[in-house]
């Protein structure tokens, strides 16, 4: 298990998956971190029509920088933990639907194991952009470890 793909975008369930992936990975293994920025953000300009171009551009830049900052903080946390265990850390940030991005990534490179969190219990706050776990389990060509939600 030298190449582990961790699919996580910082939710509580995904953090459980992060801990498990780091625990399972043997020293000197590479932890590949896939962060999917859900494509729902493409619709977050909504149906605004009253603003002028300057306001919309400012908003788009602001939103982009906010998402970038959140991803950076997230990656930094895992990089630091992985480093403590002597793991190599690599990350990939993509925009799209979580399950489609994960499947594409697995087709593009060879991994020994995919680790991800299980769907969060209903009613838990957070973005509504769940990984379609069933679709992933049917189509994934790599062994999958689904880590239980801490409050599941």
């Amino acid at each position: 298990m030298n190449n582990i793909l961790l699919s996580s975008h910082g939710t509580e369930g995904a953090r459980a998956a992060e801990r498990m992936a780091i625990e399972l990975a043997p020293a000197d293994a590479t932890l590949h971190h896939l962060i999917v920025v859900p494509d729902l953000w493409k619709g977050m300009m909504g149906d605004d029509w009253l603003n002028n171009g300057v306001s919309r551009d400012r908003y788009a830049r602001y939103l982009e920088s906010e998402l970038g900052r959140e991803v950076e903080e997230h990656c930094e946390r895992i990089r630091s933990r992985a480093g403590e265990k002597g793991l190599h850390y690599r990350n990939t940030v993509v925009l799209g639907r979580p399950e489609a991005c994960l499947l594409r990534r697995c087709r593009e490179a060879d991994y020994d194991l995919v680790v991800m969190g299980s769907p969060r219990p209903k009613g838990t706050p957070g973005l509504r952009s769940r990984m379609a776990t069933e679709r992933v389990t049917r189509a994934l060509p790599v062994p999958l470890l689904l880590v239980p939600h801490p409050h599941g």
Binding site: P38, D39, L40, W41, K42, G43, M44, M45, G46, D47, D48, W49, L50, N51, N52, V54, S55, R56, R58, Y59, Y62, L63, E66, L67, E70, P125, G126, L127, R128, S129
Partner: protein, 527 residues
């Protein structure tokens, strides 16, 4: 990057438009038009003109896009938007000419709903505007906007803004003054009230200041547009933006359907409904949608609602400034220097409002219609001013009026009727007003009233330019709203939730109900 796609799509869109024109012009669509209403079908003249002009344009551009060579640059960027714009226009055409009439036919087949005396499509406001927005929503969420059309979909904003600018030609000075005054009072009270209510509720529920700030702008001013304007100022987190926009979109789309139903049930006048929609609906796009849903064949409701929309957007820079100051006072992390009053006002000022005012000023000079026109209609009882000699009253009609003249008591009406009998046509605007009052008073028989109505129509003419503006406005709003529908994603609406949804429901519902009560009590049926 070259934006223009080498795709046959635009050519196909053009060919479909030309096919519609060809089938309609050669009578091959007659059986279908018969099915859609026959002589009551209103769009025959549009079918035999509009698709020809735009079909030629789309086909010619489509050929060039498919076979021409394209290089990076401004021209490439702008030309890449043509395919999407024509795609939206085609959807608007299909919905206006075929889908909405088909829905009406099906609705008539079901009969009237209970005691309402209305057909289901009238009650639900299922006309070409609402169906156009729905089609846009279905396209983006089920099929996705095609890549070749993506750039053009953004042009829908331009369509709506141009529509508002042209609307400026249809207001009289008195109308603008009265509506403006009413909207300033209503928007002032309800915008400030709901912004304050969200901030107060947010503090009680201990939500972060950034969330309270962005939510109050969205809930209070003009929905998504205010959220877009305020989010960077109050440093909203991404999830807070998602919650806010999700809540507003979900609420806005629901309001677009619910408001016309309630308006119909209360029998609200166009002015009352326009004022209510303009105040109570959170999102500005759905204000226009609901106004056109309530009155699809006229634009009186839209005129009222858009004055409210304009007032809201003029309030936006003030609210953004308020929130900026409010946020800086509360957050140590906020940079005090970021509240740049000049920049906020410059950036948030809606330039299209200036266009609206220019068109209003031009219209007031009489450049688009003869002086003293109202809503593009003017008085003229000479051949030079548009009166037709064939409209002079006939002997039999004069005899009916003479026989009923003794029933009239008021002096001005009596004199106006006498002058009409002597001259066989209405002689002045004052006479016209007096005779319209006589018709409304229902003193004379139905036949006599019919003659008076005919005499009124014969001296009232619609200025050609204003008529054209009305047609363009209708199309620009239809185009804009279909395009905006294509930007409403279910995935963004699904983000509605958490505390913003609770606060949003409370404030949104409160604003809708209170503004309904105020409108019903205080706003008269006409302006």
């Amino acid at each position: 990057m070259v934006y223009t796609k080498k795709s046959p799509a635009l050519l196909i869109v053009g060919l479909i438009m030309l096919a519609i024109w060809f089938l309609a012009s050669n009578g091959m669509m007659d059986p279908y038009i018969q099915h859609l209403g026959g002589s009551k079908y209103k769009y025959t003249s549009e079918l035999t003109s509009i698709p020809l002009y735009f079909g030629i344009l789309a086909a010619a551009f489509g050929l060039w896009q498919l076979f021409g060579s394209h290089r990076e640059g401004h021209w490439d960027y702008y030309s890449s938007s043509v395919a999407g714009a024509m795609f939206i226009l085609l959807i608007a055409m299909l919905v206006r000419w075929f889908v909405a009439p088909e829905v009406a036919v099906i609705s008539h087949a079901f009969g009237k709903v209970g005691d309402t005396g209305k057909y289901i499509h009238k009650l639900l406001g299922l006309n070409y505007v609402v169906l156009g927005i729905l089609t846009g929503i279905v396209i983006v969420n089920v099929f996705g906007v095609p890549k070749w059309a993506e750039n053009g979909v953004r042009l829908s904003r331009l369509g709506l803004k141009t529509g508002v600018i042209l609307l400026g030609t249809l207001y009289s000075a008195a109308e603008l003054k009265n509506l403006g005054g009413l909207s300033i009072v209503m928007i002032g009270v309800f915008v400030l009230g709901s912004v304050g209510a969200v901030l107060w509720l947010g503090a009680r529920m201990k939500i972060p200041n950034s969330m309270g700030g962005v939510l109050s702008a969205g809930m209070g001013v003009c929905g998504v547009s205010a959220t877009v304007a305020a989010a960077p100022v109050v440093q909203a987190k991404s999830v807070e933006i998602a919650y806010t926009i999700g809540t507003i979109l979900l609420w806005g789309v629901a309001c677009m359907f619910v408001f016309p139903i309630i308006g119909n049930l209360f029998g609200m006048s166009y002015v009352q409904f326009g004022a209510w929609a303009g105040t109570g609906i959170l999102n500005s796009a759905q204000v226009a949608g609901a106004a056109l849903a309530y009155q699809p064949d006229g634009i009186e409701t839209l005129k009222v609602a858009e004055i409210f929309n304009i007032t809201r957007v003029l309030v936006l820079p003030i609210i953004v400034l308020w929130l900026a100051v409010w946020y800086v006072k509360r957050e140590e992390s906020a940079v005090a220097g970021q509240v740049n009053v000049g920049r906020v006002i410059f950036e948030k000022f809606p330039m299209f409002v200036i266009g609206f005012l220019i068109m209003f000023a031009l219209s007031s000079t009489g450049i688009f219609a003869p002086p003293n026109h109202y809503k593009g209609k003017y008085f003229g009882n000479t051949v030079e001013s548009g009166f037709k000699e064939s409209n002079l009253l006939k002997d039999a009609q004069i005899a009916v009026l003479q026989a009923e003249a003794p029933k009239v008591q008021r002096e001005n009406r009596k004199a106006a009727l006498q002058r009409l009998i002597e001259n066989r046509k209405i002689m002045s605007i004052d006479d016209d007003d007096a005779l319209r009052g006589l018709v409304n008073a229902k003193i004379l028989s139905r036949d006599a009233n019919k003659i008076l109505k005919g005499a009124h129509k014969a001296v009232r003419h619609t200025a050609k330019k204003i008529k054209a503006f009305r047609k363009w406005i209708t199309w620009l709003f239809a185009f804009g709203l279909v395009g905006l529908g294509m930007q409403i994603t279910i995935s963004s609406m699904k983000q509605a939730g958490g505390q913003p949804a609770v606060i949003g429901a409370f404030v949104g519902l409160g604003k809708a109900v209170l503004s309904l009560i105020v409108v019903l009590i205080l706003v008269s049926e006409t302006i």
